[in-house]
Amino acid sequence: MEKKIRVLVAKPGLDGHDRGAKVVARALRDAGMEVIYTGLRQTPAMIAEAALQEDVDVVGLSILSGAHMALVPRIIEALTERGIEDVPLFVGGIIPPDDVAPLKALGVQEVFGPGTESETVVAFIRRAVGAA
């Protein structure tokens, strides 16, 4: 059996806008990936625990609340506590350009803004897991 790419799509923080996350989840599904979708208002511990139990290849975070500079370090910390900080992480949502470099310095591999084509995200994931 061929290896499927498994992706966790999670929505940390308190805002209730999950349309973007669902669009991405669907696009990845249509690209042949197995997407574990955990829904709204996930705490860093919930996200890290899901990433661990599901043995995902990539973690995608959707953040539109503006709290990314607070949330991302806590999520990376939760991943590190579980020894899975090596899993590639990407962030999608509304991220001011000035925050992209600091996020990447924290360990985020890629940041996708509004209007990103789903092919771009798919290609990034394939690259990140070494399947392209």
Partner: protein, 330 residues
């Protein structure tokens, strides 16, 4: 320490990785299964099935919380369908199990069906075996939203819970063969809806005095029919959203386990599970052999022979099998 040893020693990441290897059917996965198999056979495997939207995931979440409340660790394997077009899948069962997400006594694994039609994936049995060996005393398997004929969960679960939502059809539906027959416990979920009573009554009319022998099957008779009573399928009402009726469901599941143990049915059931699993591996290996020895071109030629009405499908299959077996010999 090997990955398998680490998984058995309680390393959750190692466990997750062994599950992936087993799910992907890699050489490493097969070797892992062989290593840990002697440690299996202890868990109570509970299948939860029913139509899409009946509330299985929410119910499984509540059920797991109640079992945890009583002090037992448990694992959940939640299966969702793979797209036949893209091969991808959206695995959304965790969404309804929020409160379990960070409980160290719970391990949740989502699985895509990967083309297997029976309501579970073909590696679900193997994934359950790994969790069993890792020491989880209860493993809940949630099937894809199942229709009438997706009964494979009965080949790996000791206790099958069938979840119905109110308004699913009249009592003739309940008489049809298939899913209804494999249920050890019937649950009418969404009991907060006014139509729920009607559904319960329809099920009661059909199920009065029925004992669940369907998946225990013919030839699995009780060792002593005189002294051991059969299992009468209980019909329970729950409202997963309002957390009603969950304790009674846990008690029914435990009562069924006790019944299987006390009646000797447990061993019969497990024998049948093992037989089904050996057959499944044989199929897999035979298909792999067909692929290797006959190949796509050989198969295409066979299809052409049937297409031109030169040969019938059964004769073609017989010839292919003969080729596989002949060329398999040293």
């Amino acid at each position: 320490m090997s990955l398998v040893q680490a998984a058995l020693a309680g390393d959750r990441r190692a466990l997750a990785r062994v599950l992936s290897a087993v799910e992907n059917g890699t050489e490493e996965g097969r070797a892992a299964l062989a290593t840990l198999f002697p440690k299996t056979g202890r868990a109570h495997v509970v299948g939860v099935t029913g139509s899409p939207g009946a509330g299985k995931s929410t119910l499984v979440g509540r059920l797991a919380a109640e079992i945890r409340e009583r002090g037992q660790p448990l694992a959940i394997v939640a299966v969702d369908p793979t797209s036949p077009y893209s091969g991808g899948a959206l695995l959304g069962d965790r969404l309804r199990m929020r409160e379990l997400a960070t409980d160290p006594g719970i391990f949740i694994r989502s699985m895509a069906s990967r083309g297997h039609p029976g309501g579970v994936a073909h590696a679900t049995h193997d994934v359950v075996s790994v969790l069993d060996a890792a020491g989880f005393p209860v493993v809940i398997v949630e099937t894809v939203g199942a229709g009438q004929a997706q009964v494979d969960v009965a080949r790996l679960a000791h206790t099958v819970v069938l979840v119905e939502a109110p308004g699913m059809g009249d009592d003739v539906q309940a008489l049809k063969a298939g899913l209804m027959e494999i249920a050890d416990i019937l649950v009418v979920n969404k009991a907060d809806k006014p139509e729920a009573r009607q559904t319960v009554r329809a099920l009661q009319r059909v199920h009065q005095g029925v004992t669940s022998r369907g998946h225990h099957g013919p030839g699995a008779a009780l060792p002593d029919e005189e002294t051991v009573a059969g299992w009468e399928v209980p019909i329970l009402e729950t409202s997963a959203v309002e957390n009603q009726g969950i304790a009674a469901l846990v008690e029914a599941i435990e009562a069924h386990r006790e019944y299987l143990r006390a009646s000797g049915q447990w061993n019969n059931l497990v024998r049948r599970h093992i037989r089904a699993e050996i057959e499944a591996w044989l199929w897999r290996d035979l298909l792999a052999l067909l692929e290797a020895r006959v190949g796509a071109a050989g198969l295409d030629a066979a299809i052409d022979a049937v297409l031109s009405r030169e040969k019938d499908p059964a004769s073609v299959a017989g010839a292919l099998l003969a080729r596989v077996l002949q060329e398999a010999e040293p």
